[in-house]
Amino acid sequence: MLGLLYKDIYTAKKELLLTLVMLALFVGYNAILGQAEMLGPTLGVMVSLGAMTPTYSLNYDKTCGWNKFVCASPISRTKVILMKYLEGILSSLVIGLLVVVCNLAAGSPMPSWAYPLLFCTILFAQAIMMPVCLRLGQNMVVVVFLLMVFLPTGLLFSLNKAGIWTDEAIRAAFDFVEHHISSLTPVLVLVVLALYVLSFLVTRHIYRHMEF
């Protein structure tokens, strides 16, 4: 299985380098100018990257013909998909570490309890997008990702504008999360991990029935 990881690292070298350069720019900017406002966009970019990385890899294998090779090799299709999910977790952990660095560089405006939330957000997005990528392609992944970002934001904004969910209510919701985060985090992690496993099973089912 390590051979698959090597191959994914070699093929994504350029993208990984580009990601690191972008992050270095963000972190450097935040550290030098100490602008906490830049942390939001930085985290947005990093969460997007963490969420999309395994889908890029899945899509790349589809387009370059690698699936034909690997599915005719001794490696089972289950292991091929398992490796993609392990890479997903790995990329989430790396992004998680970078989030910590970015937060520290910006003077720690983000509370530490938000770390597991961001980690879960990345895993949640991957869990949704991996089967979508395999079944419907990378273009649909972008659509789904945008829906995942803008649908809740738009809904929240609309409810707020309509006066249904007021600023006070939003603030109260954030306060509730903040006060109960120690008990909510394990539940959230378990739910997201369960979703991740379910997503693996769905993706594996799709992949096992794919013909090349």
């Binding site: 299985m1 390590l2 051979g3 698959l4 090597y6 191959k7 070699y10 093929t11 070298k13 350029k14 790349y60 370059c64 013909g65 690698w66 699936n67 034909k68 090779f69 690997v70 599915c71 005719a72 090799s73 001794p74 490696i75 089972s76 029935h209 013909e211 090349f212």
Partner: protein
């Protein structure tokens, strides 16, 4: 006799195409050429063999094992497809590192020797390769993990005669050890005439004939005659015929011919052409 490859009643159904009960056996230490026109079912058969598509029926045995049940047999099966399947961003060196972790019997020295023989640069990215180089790289990989059976799908198509000849030489060397076997699909029949021991001929998803190449070539011949002479022959003597302003040319079964007809040698191309495009005598049903 031990077989490297056995298919028994292999079936695969698509909306507009059916691979229909394909059965064949390739003895160890031999090369089988798999011929047929484009769309005849050659690639479908090979894909079903290695598990790239699921079969709808029948049995597949590669080196005595069913690859749909036990993937470990693929350690000993090398595959070369008509289109490259390695990531274009990688180079041969990186590919070697990956392959060493995919195949237990990967031999890096053997791989290096093949790359040198094929004059493939170690650091050059695959996206910069010519088609011939991609094919050679695929072959180098297929030959560097201790494969006992090579499956090649149109591996020589689109290559210049020199590269094709190189590849045929390598295949010939490969089977000198009698444990090694090659199954090679191609519509370049000249290549198969050079190296194949057996020929399987597929047409519209059905296997029309399988046998030793020499038997096949000696069994069939070309007869130049008039239409009246052709009509005198038993219908099952004529595999197919074509008419021209000079008369009729028919592919005939030599062993069924009366002795006084002059019959020329037929090539695999002739056999393929007359079986696929030749007309049948009125009372013939199929071939």
């Amino acid at each position: 006799m031990e077989y490297a490859l056995e298919l028994r009643g292999l079936r695969k159904n698509y909306h507009h195409f059916t691979l229909d009960n394909v059965s064949l056996s390739l003895p160890k230490g031999c090369i089988m050429g798999f011929i047929g026109e484009n769309g005849a079912g050659k690639s479908t058969t090979i894909k079903a063999m290695v598990g790239l598509i699921s079969k709808d029926g029948g049995e597949i045995r590669l080196l005595g094992q069913d690859p749909t049940l036990d993937r470990s047999v693929m350690e000993q099966v090398g595959l070369v497809l008509d289109s490259g399947f390695f990531p274009p961003e990688m180079n041969a060196k990186q590919l070697g590192v990956s392959m060493a972790r995919i195949y237990q019997r990967w031999d890096p020295e053997e791989f290096r020797r093949f790359l040198e023989r094929f004059q493939i640069a170690w650091e050059k990215k695959i996206k910069e390769y010519s088609r011939g180089m991609v094919m050679k790289l695929s072959l180098a990989v297929a030959l560097s993990h201790g494969a006992k059976l090579l499956l090649l799908d149109e591996a020589t198509s689109g290559l210049d005669p020199i590269v094709r000849d190189d590849i045929l030489d390598i295949l010939y060397d490969f089977i000198q050890d009698e444990e090694h076997s090659v199954f090679l699909s191609s519509h370049i029949t000249a290549d198969l005439e050079k190296i194949a021991d057996y020929i399987a001929f597929i047409h519209r998803g059905k296997l029309l004939m399988v046998g030793e190449k020499d038997d096949l070539l000696s069994s069939y011949g070309l007869l130049h005659c008039t239409r009246d002479q052709l009509e005198e022959l038993a219908p099952d003597t004529v595999a197919g015929y074509r008419t021209s302003e000079f008369g009729v040319t028919a592919l005939v079964k030599r062993y069924r011919m009366p002795g006084d007809y002059p019959v020329e040698n037929a090539s695999l191309d002739d056999i393929l052409l007359y079986c696929v495009k030749g007309k049948k005598l009125a009372s013939q049903e199929g071939f």
